[in-house]
């Protein structure tokens, strides 16, 4: 993978910069656009790591479906996605958590030594991945179908539960007959 170092470094740089853009953008529209750039840079990284089918899936599912879904929801927001300013405690918690996770991951990942890549490029063909998908991980693969179905039904149920009742179904409100109150 030596000759791929420069493109990989470029992809990593774009991925980190766009991830920072996702979390620091003040408006959700800009965050969604940054998320699009992020997913495309990750697709490029997957392609460079010779995972062709994952790269294609990333473009179709992430850039094509998820980011568009986010953009639809952002257009549905009543106030254009205005957000309350983060509280002071949240900023501190975010910085502390990010630093802690970074240190922990760096320690864990540097402890487990990576073996030198013995694979020749083209080892993981789409055919090999497809055969694994339909033999070794067939249960997980088939379970994604009911998962998606449950997700769709769940989204509809969550949305309908908070829906106000249609006006025609409400019974007509009976007004109380007014009574005369005598004040002394």
């Amino acid at each position: 993978m030596g000759n791929l170092f420069v493109p990989l470094a470029l992809g990593c740089l774009v991925a980190i910069a766009s991830a920072l853009g996702v979390i620091l953008a003040r408006r959700p529209v800009y965050a969604a656009i940054f998320l699009l750039v992020h997913s495309l840079s990750l697709a490029a990284l997957f392609a460079l790591l010779s995972a062709a089918i994952v790269a294609v899936g990333q473009i179709i599912i992430y850039s094509g479906a998820i980011v568009v879904l986010f953009l639809f929801v952002v257009t549905l927001l009543p106030t254009g996605g205005r957000e309350l300013a983060p509280k002071g405690g949240r900023v501190t918690a975010a910085i502390v958590t990010a630093a802690g996770i970074l240190v922990a991951l760096a320690a864990a990942l540097s402890a487990g030594a990576l073996p030198q890549a013995p694979t020749v490029p083209g080892d993981l063909t789409v055919q090999a991945v497809g055969q694994t998908l339909f033999s070794t991980v067939i249960v997980a693969f088939e379970l994604t179908a009911p998962l998606l179905l449950v997700a769709i039904v769940g989204a509809v149920v969550i949305w309908r539960r908070h829906e106000p009742r249609p006006r025609t179904a409400q019974p007509a409100k009976v007004t109380e007959p007014r009574t005369l109150v005598m004040h002394r």
Binding site: F5, I23, G57, I61, Y62, A99
Partner: protein, 100 residues
């Protein structure tokens, strides 16, 4: 610095950035986007492992994670829209019905 180390470091950094964003935001949609960044970081690590060890099953797992991310986004966005019915400018701290 080898290419594998570079991608490993990128994956760790992306996960940290995503977790910081998920804690930073009070807007549910922005929070979900940060969680998507975290999922992407995990997927990058899976694909790197598949490349280094030459395992096709890891790449299949990465594909399943992609579908999982789609399902998660659908449910999360439906919850976010349900929260918008309550307040025009939502705060995730408002959704506290399950607090004991």
């Amino acid at each position: 610095m080898s290419s594998e180390t570079l991608v490993l470091a990128t994956s760790a950094a992306l996960f940290a950035i995503g977790s910081a964003g998920a804690l930073l935001h009070r807007h549910p949609v922005a929070m979900l986007m940060a969680i998507e960044v975290m999922l992407n970081a995990a997927n990058l690590l899976i694909v790197l492992g598949a490349r280094v060890r030459g395992g096709a099953d890891a790449e299949a797992a990465a594909l399943v994670v992609l579908v999982l991310a789609a399902a998660e986004a659908v449910i999360g966005l439906a919850l976010a829209l349900a929260l918008f019915r309550r307040r025009p400018i939502p705060d995730v701290d408002d959704a506290a019905e399950l607090r004991g």
